[in-house]
Symmetry: C2
Subunit: 248 residues, 2 copies
């Protein structure tokens, strides 16, 4: 399982992905689910992936291969807009699923894959997309400034409560890390390390990256204080004063 989240703010964007992959509990490994295509001053494109690892890896590999051998092709490194980048990712996942899908289906293997695609290309505003297994996609707006893929439910409430377009980059980062902490508590198949990338709007540079593992002091503080804070809030809520000893 996977958890990835990205938020788009007036100040920039925050991307985060876990790196646990499992094929049965006896086969748990770490794979990077954050993929970066960037040229300083020109474009920063971040792709987060969730789903069948062979499908997502092949999708990214094909994008990468094309980008290295552009010839006259359109690639993520020369596309004129983030919208075109999303189209390219869609075409790539469709190509992989067309090639491998029928064989996976024969063995009842789930071939689904989904992606978050965000970043900025010179001459355009920063943009954020959520791309589905079928290759179609939607774009984030000021009203819905974030996307999640993978095991999204446990970590959704805190993002819903906190993140607005006007939220600062560091506060949104805190929120995203709380969201990861909640997810990892409830689903053992989502795990550290977390890849984190913070993009400052209009910088057209990769910006701040951090690989958060067991020794990360900030994440450990979040983990402990959030849990303790929740328990305190719960304890302070009064119990109902209902008399349950007799039928009502």
């Amino acid at each position: 399982m996977t958890y990835c989240a990205a938020v788009m703010l007036d100040a920039g964007m925050v991307f985060a992905s876990d790196s646990r992959t499992n094929a049965g509990v006896d086969h748990v490994s770490s794979y990077r689910k954050m993929h970066l295509f960037a040229a300083d001053g020109e474009r920063v494109i971040v792709i987060l992936s969730s789903g069948n690892l062979s499908v997502t890896q092949s999708t990214i590999s094909l994008l990468d291969q094309h980008a290295r051998n552009p010839d006259s092709h359109k690639t993520v490194m020369n596309a004129a807009s983030m919208y075109e980048v999303a189209e390219l990712v869609g075409a790539s996942v469709r190509e992989v699923r067309q090639r491998d899908g029928p064989y996976l289906q024969q063995s009842n293997v789930d071939a689904s894959a989904s992606f978050i695609i965000g970043g900025q290309i010179r001459g355009e505003q920063q943009r954020l997309f959520n791309l589905y297994t079928e290759g179609n996609f939607i774009e984030a707006t000021r009203e819905t400034p974030y996307f999640q893929i993978g095991e999204s439910k446990y970590g959704k409430p805190v993002i819903d409560r906190v993140v607005k377009a006007g939220t600062g980059l560091l506060e949104a980062t805190k929120c995203v890390l709380v969201s990861f902490d909640s997810t990892m508590r409830s689903n053992i198949s989502v795990g550290l390390p977390i890849d984190l990338l913070i993009y400052t709007r209009n910088s057209l540079r990769v910006g701040f990256q951090r690989h958060i593992d067991e020794d990360d002091a900030y994440f450990e503080m979040i983990h402990n204080q959030w849990g303790e804070g929740l328990r305190k809030v719960f304890a302070q809520l009064p119990n109902p004063d209902w008399d349950v000893s007799t039928p009502a």
Copy 2:
């Protein structure tokens, strides 16, 4: 969608279910998802249901019909153990799915249904079961003293953090209501009113029942103070002190 939860404690059991049913957003209604079979001093059986409403209603109707006309049949009203009650519910859902399943499948309608079955029969300890679409079931233990069905993820973390077998009935009730509040915030298809039933161990009586709607002062307090408390805990967590303005 539906959310139901039940916890089994040393002191007794707490059952709760929402009552929203929808078939598309233009067809939202309230149906009771808590079903009760009881005879004072003899047995208390609570069944919570989730899934295709025609399947769950028929499953309960057949159980009820058999209980009213026992002849020589075994029914939920004369079964000697909660285990036998779970078997009867399984047989009933299998009968309904055998009758209606193929026709639903022709229209790509999901015919799944799941149930939480809990209570106590004289001569036995209280017991709690989770029964799946296929009619098979598992039983709660002291280590895992609760079950949820339906939209379970949003409301799971708080139960995980709080409920142990030794938790008191009223504190567990508070926790279950916080769990419902979290679920209803994140999924609009789970809604008030909530049916709540608190069973005191070995009482063999239905005990405390409450129909929690928009006017319920205790639930409104939970709703407001929990949200406010979470926001406060989040605000008190320091932001990371990372310098994100330059590449790391």
